[in-house]
């Protein structure tokens, strides 16, 4: 009598409507303020890098999965996120073919070879960036002042570069005034300029304000947890101060906020346990600061996060105690309470 096409799977029979695609879409939306402002700052070349990088990432994933006879996964938008991230942490003057190469490396080497979405041990975008930095050190460290054509005349050191080369924080402020990026050379005007993001740097990393807008969006949708970014930025602040550097400048000037919000919160390559997330953030912030202070590079966010990625599986062992946990040493003795 009853229909014979009834579903018979094990419970539950009700599922959330959320899916991976919606999560990725939320990340893309959260990246949009920084993306748009990157184009405002650096013009058409930045837009070119962004479009080429996204397109290359999506095409690389599709072709790789086709070649290896796996189902296409363009729909989940994860390649779009990877491509966008690679672009946002690249300099705006990056030749387009290099941007394409970085995106392809991120998707193929860092992700698909390991098994695709969910299987990459390292943050794909940062691997893409690391490969580009090693392959093309000059192109990856050529910076330009915002609001102008990207010519030899408009090259400008990033704030962290100024400091790395022996300059002071005041020199950074003077530089801003010279380029018309700040109205006065005082400390607060300099910090404001950094916070708004009107400085030389990667396409998407400079505006702390807009990164925080994206972060608030992700937090509101509960896509990311606050603990890792807070731990990473907090550690950078504290350790900068302990190592005798200007902590406020340290947090506002480089890519640490961008990295903390959009890279250290990457699901796949970071721990899933709460304590693991905390240690991940602290470790990434500490390595970043140590590289900035003692290393050869002015910035250390890339390696700070990549190194912590490597120990993320280990940090996953730091699970919370299960409900009703009874220590094995004295089994259930006090159970009556």
């Amino acid at each position: 009598m009853p229909a014979n096409n009834l579903l018979l799977s094990s419970s539950p029979s009700s599922y959330t409507r959320g899916d991976v695609r919606k999560i990725m879409l939320a990340v893309i939306i959260a990246l949009m303020p920084s993306t748009v402002y990157g184009v405002v700052l650096f013009g058409v070349p930045a837009l070119g890098v962004i479009l080429v990088s996204v397109f290359s990432a999506v095409a690389a994933e599709a072709l790789f999965r086709l070649a290896t006879k796996q189902d296409p996964r363009i729909g989940d938008l994860s390649a779009v996120v990877t491509g966008l991230l690679v672009a946002l942490i690249s300099p705006p003057s990056l030749p387009l073919w290099m941007a394409a190469l970085g995106a392809v490396a991120a998707v193929i080497f860092a992700k698909e070879f390991f098994g695709g979405l969910g299987a990459n041990p390292f943050n794909p975008a940062l691997i893409g960036r690391a490969i580009l930095v090693m392959s093309f050190p000059a192109a990856m460290t050529t910076w330009h002042a915002p609001f102008g054509a990207l010519t030899d005349a408009t090259t400008m050191a990033t704030p962290l570069n100024v400091v790395k080369l022996g300059g002071s924080v005041a020199d950074v402020g003077a530089g801003f005034v010279e380029r018309g990026l700040a109205s006065a050379a005082d400390y607060n005007s300099m910090l404001w300029t950094l916070f708004v993001g009107n400085r030389a740097g990667c396409i998407g990393e400079s505006s702390i304000l807009l990164i925080l807008v994206g972060f608030a969006f992700l937090l509101a949708l509960r896509v990311v947890q606050i603990v890792t970014p807070l731990a990473m930025v907090g550690t950078t602040f504290l350790l900068s101060w302990l190592l005798g550097m200007d902590p406020v400048f340290g947090v506002l000037s480089g890519g640490v906020v961008f990295g903390a919000v959009f890279m250290a919160t990457d699901y796949v390559s970071t721990p899933v346990t709460p304590l693991g997330k905390l240690i991940f953030g602290v470790g990434a912030g500490a390595i970043t600061t140590i590289i900035r202070r003692f290393g050869g590079f002015p910035e250390g966010v890339t390696y700070g996060i990549l190194i912590m990625n490597a120990i993320a599986p280990f940090l996953d062992k730091l699970r919370v105690k299960k409900y009703g946990f009874v220590p094995p040493a004295k089994p259930a003795k006090e159970a009556g309470k």
Partner: protein, 448 residues
């Protein structure tokens, strides 16, 4: 009093509006009942009747000795037509006694008993004789919970009025229509246990019942010590362990029972059944349930004799859009089993029957785990489902056990929240079986 809750959980769409305000409709005229002999969690029992016997409504028709057993009673008067295996709501064929109605309204109830003056042994015997099991789902014999060993002092009796499963509204209706029975049932249980405190744990989507319950408590002399605690609406609040934690802050130790933290929990339906067993001498032979789902044209709250085939209710009592039905569930959508048809009897622990359509019953293909951590935060047992899933996929049973697969209450919240729609709880169920089998093997080997 503030609104309490437990940590974790999720909030699936409630979909209770279809049946929320509908009075319980009493169904008396069923032509036959198929009464499964074993409807409880525990040792199996045997039929006491044979084919051809004439039985009365309320007459005991199956029983056995043993602590973890409860008898089963005829829910209608008539003739025993067959005793044969039939499909039960647990998706297995089990021995069932099929009774054909003779249309009479004769009953063979127990004599009424004053639960507030009888001895503890009399009370426990009555609860067992009335065939009362936990009506929230598991079907655990009610009297067993009321006889804790002396080294487990009980200080709190909890009425589970969370009704956290979506769709279901029968407990809500029961409390609306017979709040006094709930109070009486609780008073009897509290007295049998020598406990002076009782709490009704009510989710705040039913907060309109609070005043009514409180006045029902206040107007009865035996209501002393009973209070209503509002709980934040969240699944799986009605899980025994979660309810205890929400109300008391205590955590039932791993592998333990509520009695280990001084609590006894019963569903509100169970308390009502206990009240009936004393007041009227009526065994557990009627079951209230919610019939709902988008493919059910007549969503209702019903009271039917135990053993009523759902198919026999169609079309006089309920109408179903047979074209649209894609899933039939006994119980709620989060934990209830899906059945291959609806020629299935309502049991003592059947809280609802849902007829889901294509949209509600949508199943998804399993995607890769992106380690988003939603299951970690949703797991009310704090079992790290994502990591447990990895362990089981790698067949690492030791790690799975260490993470706590045996503590999983199988509420299904992890599977519900997973954006990749990974069959988490489903894999944990299999994992529990594997761990049990492994332990058995080890025990056998050690025994040799």
């Amino acid at each position: 009093m503030s609104i309490k809750t437990f940590k974790g959980g999720a909030h699936p769409p409630e979909r209770k509006h279809r049946t929320e305000g509908l009075p319980i409709e009493n169904v008396r005229t069923v032509k036959q009942v198929v009464i499964p002999v074993n409807q409880h969690f525990g040792a199996p029992i045997q039929p006491l009747v044979k084919v051809g016997d004439v039985v009365k409504r309320g007459q005991k028709i199956a029983d056995a000795d043993g602590r973890m057993t409860v008898p089963v009673h005829a829910s209608i008067s008539g003739t025993v037509k067959k005793i044969e295996p039939r499909l039960q709501p647990n998706n297995l064929d089990g021995m069932a006694i099929i009774i054909e109605s003779d249309g009479s309204s004769e009953t063979a109830f127990l004599p009424p008993l004053d639960g507030l003056s009888c001895t503890k042994d009399e009370a426990l015997a009555r609860i067992r004789e009335a065939g009362i099991v936990g009506m929230g789902g598991a079907g655990f014999p009610a009297h067993v919970k009321l006889a804790p060993p002396p080294n487990k002092p009980i200080d709190l009796v909890i009425a589970n009025a969370a009704e956290c499963e979506p769709y279901l509204t029968i407990d809500e209706r029961m409390m609306e229509e017979a709040p006094g029975d709930l109070v009486l049932g609780m008073a009897i249980v509290m007295r049998a246990l020598g406990v002076s405190k009782g709490v009704i744990g009510l989710e705040d989507n039913k907060s309109h019942l609070q005043g009514q319950l409180e006045s029902a408590i206040a107007s009865r002399h035996y209501g002393n010590g009973i209070t209503v605690q509002l709980l934040k609406t969240k699944y799986p609040q009605g899980g025994e362990k979660m309810l205890i934690t929400a109300i008391t802050g205590r955590e039932v130790p791993s592998g333990g029972l509520p009695m280990d933290v001084g609590c006894v929990v019963h569903n509100v339906g169970t308390f009502k059944a206990i009240a009936d067993a004393f007041q009227e001498g009526k065994p557990l032979i009627d079951r209230g349930l919610t019939v709902s789902g988008a493919a059910c044209k007549t969503p209702k709250n019903l009271m039917v004799p135990v053993g009523t085939l759902v198919s026999d209710l169609v079309p006089d009592v309920i109408q179903i859009d047979e074209e649209a039905v894609r899933r039939v569930i006994f119980g709620g959508p989060m934990m209830g089993p899906s059945l291959p048809n609806w020629t299935v009897p309502v049991q003592k622990n059947t809280s609802g029957v849902l007829f889901m359509d294509e949209r509600e019953a949508k199943v998804y293909e399993e995607g890769p785990c992106i380690r988003c951590g939603r299951c970690m935060r949703a797991c009310s047992c704090r079992l790290s489902p994502a990591l447990l899933n990895n362990a089981l996929k790698a067949n690492d049973l030791d790690l799975a056990e260490q993470i706590g697969v045996m503590d999983c209450i199988e509420c299904g919240t992890c599977s519900y929240v997973c954006p990749s729609h990974i069959q988490l709880v489903q894999r944990f169920r299999v994992g529990k079986q594997l761990v049990r089998a492994k332990k058995q093997k080890e025990a056998q080997r050690a025994g040799k």
